[in-house]
């Protein structure tokens, strides 16, 4: 399984109180937050700034794990 190249579609958790510009509401610390309205650079900045954290560090990019293929045979 390779690490996903893009952050789009990934899941994130708020680490601080966040005003969500797309949904026009507050997201409380610890709650999941959808960041699909932001580009990858903006999301990276939020992660580096400690405002959000990625929940699923590794996401299946559609490439089958070779071990699964062996088991299927």
């Amino acid at each position: 399984m390779r690490k996903r190249e893009t952050t789009r579609g990934a899941r994130y958790r708020a680490l601080t109180l966040i005003w969500h510009t797309a949904e026009q509401c507050y997201v409380q610390p610890g709650e999941e937050i959808v960041l699909d309205h932001l580009d990858s650079g903006e999301i990276d900045w939020l992660v580096r700034a400690g405002i959000v954290e990625r929940i699923d560090e590794e996401v299946d990019d559609g490439t089958d794990d070779w071990r699964n293929l062996v088991q299927e045979q």
């Binding site: 708020a14 601080t16 109180l17 966040i18 005003w19 969500h20 510009t21 026009q24 507050y26 997201v27 937050i33 960041l35 932001l38 903006e42 999301i43 900045w45 939020l46 700034a49 405002i51 959000v52």
Partner: protein
Amino acid sequence: MAQTTGGISFKSNKIEISTNGTTWADISGFANSVSVDGGDRQTGEAYTYDGDTAIIAIGKREPVEVTVRVVYTEGTGDPFETVRAAYEGGTNLYVRWSPKGGTAGNFQFATGAGYVTAFGYPVGEAGSGDPVLVEFTVMAASITKSAVA
């Protein structure tokens, strides 16, 4: 210790007002200044016969007053008319601002539901060429800091 490189001026500040806390109007193109007063936490002190210093206790935080100065204009949805209506009607007004401009990752400071406690009608002198500015003050329970995303 190294000197910070993160200091900013207030030139990029984004400021918005709302009458319901949901729909916000960007008044950055009207606003000239924003200031905050109040919000002190109440404290008390008492002395005993023993010891040489006071016993300190803390209480609640006082309300905040956010004062905004805007350019006086006469458009229907312009800040002067929006705030005047809230002031004269005694209805809620919310204020929020983001010193770095309100883009992703910036801090934002927002009042809860407040009331306009002071409102300046347009005044001026004949000899001045300055744009007319008016000032209003919103009293609210507190200011909430959040990050924009």
